[in-house]
Symmetry: C2
Amino acid sequence: MSQALKEAALRIFSDYGYEGASLAGIADEVGLKKQSIYAHFKGKDDLFLQVFRHSFTDELDRLRRELQHSGCLSLHDCLYGILQSYIVTYQSERRLKFCLRVSFYPPPHLYEEIDRYTGEHLQQIHELFLERFREAARAGDIGQRDPETANLAFMALVDAICIELVYSDKEKAERRMEAAWSIFWDGLRAIPTTE
Amino acid sequence: MSQALKEAALRIFSDYGYEGASLAGIADEVGLKKQSIYAHFKGKDDLFLQVFRHSFTDELDRLRRELQHSGCLSLHDCLYGILQSYIVTYQSERRLKFCLRVSFYPPPHLYEEIDRYTGEHLQQIHELFLERFREAARAGDIGQRDPETANLAFMALVDAICIELVYSDKEKAERRMEAAWSIFWDGLRAIPTTE
DNA sequence: GTCTATACGTTGATAGAC
DNA sequence: GTCTATCAACGTATAGAC
């Protein structure tokens, strides 16, 4: 039941945000009264933070698996696959939608804890991708391009796709991805201009 | 007083969102009681929607001016200037912060009106930029690159910078911009790969 | 663990004196 | 136009029966 409540909370929080979500609505999704939530969680904040921590560790795990799984692929296929995986994940799991919303607009009274956690999360993603770009640099796959620069640009691409998923739909996100990816990839392998 | 209330509402809504904002908090910012708001607006929705419409038309005006002002510049300086203008605007005006938040996470009961309005807004930005890319294509500034593709990728870049402003700060947004811009610009002018 | 009953604060909103 | 007084509705949270 605890698990069912957390899943319902994930749906409600990701759709309506912390302030827009009510315990009554969450309890209702699993056929309980709102008071029963207090048998499983200390309160709204406790429920929210448990969903929060679970979602972010799950999302980091997914990325690790994604990168490990594409270890044998070319840089092109690896990066392109990661972008695609965001679109697929956003469709099939609520987690990513929740992670994005709480990253951008955390409830103010929980800001400190959330900021610390998401900061570490982001840092780990950064290092995960950076390692791949360093490897590509050693293999000569990104020419004279600085791995750090490549990484920042790639993560910008990831965010741009996620944001398109948030405010429109899969189709537009795919169109944006194709366009931005083609230019990113050509730019990554071009000889850097010194302008 | 109506104007002062709208400015206070813009601050509160952009910081806390629709659900997280209270009329008491808004009235307090201008030294009024919450009941006095009803002498100027029909209610919370009316106040929110007036701020909403004003913000989006202002933001579109800003972009038009920005593009008109950079009419004589090279494509490089024009696009780069637009990116910079987002960072500057985000720092000095609340409007952009509000526009982003309400675009991504509109209050559900106002979704229809907001979606219609932001959709038109986005379409006009799209056409504004596209016209500049078409001009660049005619001048041979983007080689064989399709103006539509260039435009989609550029708007992705804009969003990536805005999102960095939302969840971190000016400095990180500037670093992201420099990295993503350098690769975007080189990719835009590279000969497209047919992979 | 789930329920009913209840407490208590805050919210958006209205009525009416000044 | 702004105020005081007031309201109903909904929010989170607690106490106690079963």
